[in-house]
Amino acid sequence: MKRDPVVIIVVAMVVSLMLVIGMNLARKRTPPLEGPQGRGEVAPDFALQSLDGKTVHLSDFRGKAVLLNFWATWCAPCKIEMPWFVELQKEYGPQGLQIVGVAMDDASPTDIADFAKEMSVNYPVLIGKESVGDAYGGVQFLPETFYIDRNGRVVSRAFGLKGRGEIEDDIKKIVASNLVQAQKQVR
């Protein structure tokens, strides 16, 4: 049986078109991600141990712009971000930024502390718990970063490694926008 090439081409085009439309429809039907999405939801509070054994609550940083970074020692992209966070903490700390690292790691606190020391981390690193990860949407992969304003609201959420410029832009937003909100509240 001889097949008309025009028919085959038309069928191939129709299949491709259907695939594209179908994929877009399927994407739109995807259930929403769990945890705060960065639309102004209140960041879930937590109580976690710091590397020096103190109990730290997220609410301890209320009034500051918080970059909450979930990471692990085995995560190569997380290691790329850390020197940027160190620099950004130095640069934006005086403007009210507080970077907080949460290690979602099976490694011992000593190993995590050694790693943080090796990376010259200048911000608090907390020992993560699964329940805290769950409260933030499961944290199924790392790094994952939440940008929290001075009122404790999540204004953006970043999955995976982002460029330094993108991180800095998000930091500027939480520092600047929250200052405006703080002024409004004062008025």
Partner: protein, 181 residues
């Protein structure tokens, strides 16, 4: 005919779209699978390498057995030993030296796509011939170009067939190299 082709095309398109929709963009979960392993014949009283083939899902990589940095989690295979079938070491392939967008200047030693590990199986001379199953797990930690996923353990199962070694070939009696006149 065109009608049939169109129906088939529609079915393929809908199925593909639904399958694609299971994993929203950026939220795919990496997987490593053990490819079907044919039952290997292993001889009693000697070491027999048995090859296990694994596949890393496209778009992901896992650390090799000797990752580039101490803090990275190596891929390891552990098989439960049996009493009368000894297991020797696992031979791991060398990792591919690859750099990724998150660290373009740093080379990581990784496995991606298909890779195979070799397990040395040595049945004692007293083992009864027959099929024997082994169980174990492959521990790996996967990443893509921008993120890493928690370490996982893949259950591994394979079978071998213990057979008697073939008897040594009977050599012909040596011929005298000398020419007798």
């Amino acid at each position: 005919m065109l009608n049939n082709i169109a129906k088939t095309a529609f079915f393929i398109a809908v199925s593909a779209a639904l399958l694609y929709g299971q994993n929203p963009p950026g939220r795919k979960v990496p997987s490593v699978t053990l490819l079907p392993t044919p039952v290997a014949n292993v001889f009693r009283g000697r070491g027999n390498p048995v090859e296990l083939q694994f596949r890393v899902q496209s778009g992901f990589h896992i650390n090799s057995n000797k990752p580039a940095a101490e803090y990275l989690i190596p891929t390891t295979l552990k098989i439960d030993a049996q009493t009368d079938i000894m297991l020797g070491g696992v031979t791991y392939p060398e990792g591919e030296q690859m750099s990724f967008a998150f660290a373009p200047e740093e080379k990581l030693s990784v496995y991606s796509g298909n890779f195979s590990l070799s397990v040395m199986v040595r049945p004692l001379a007293s083992v009864l011939p027959g099929r024997y199953a082994f169980r174990g797990e492959l521990k790996y930690q996967a990443c893509d170009n921008a993120a890493c996923y928690p370490p996982k353990k893949l259950p591994v199962r394979f079978e071998v067939k213990v057979v008697k070694p073939s008897p040594p070939r009977r050599k012909n009696p040596a011929q005298s190299p000398h020419v007798h006149n």
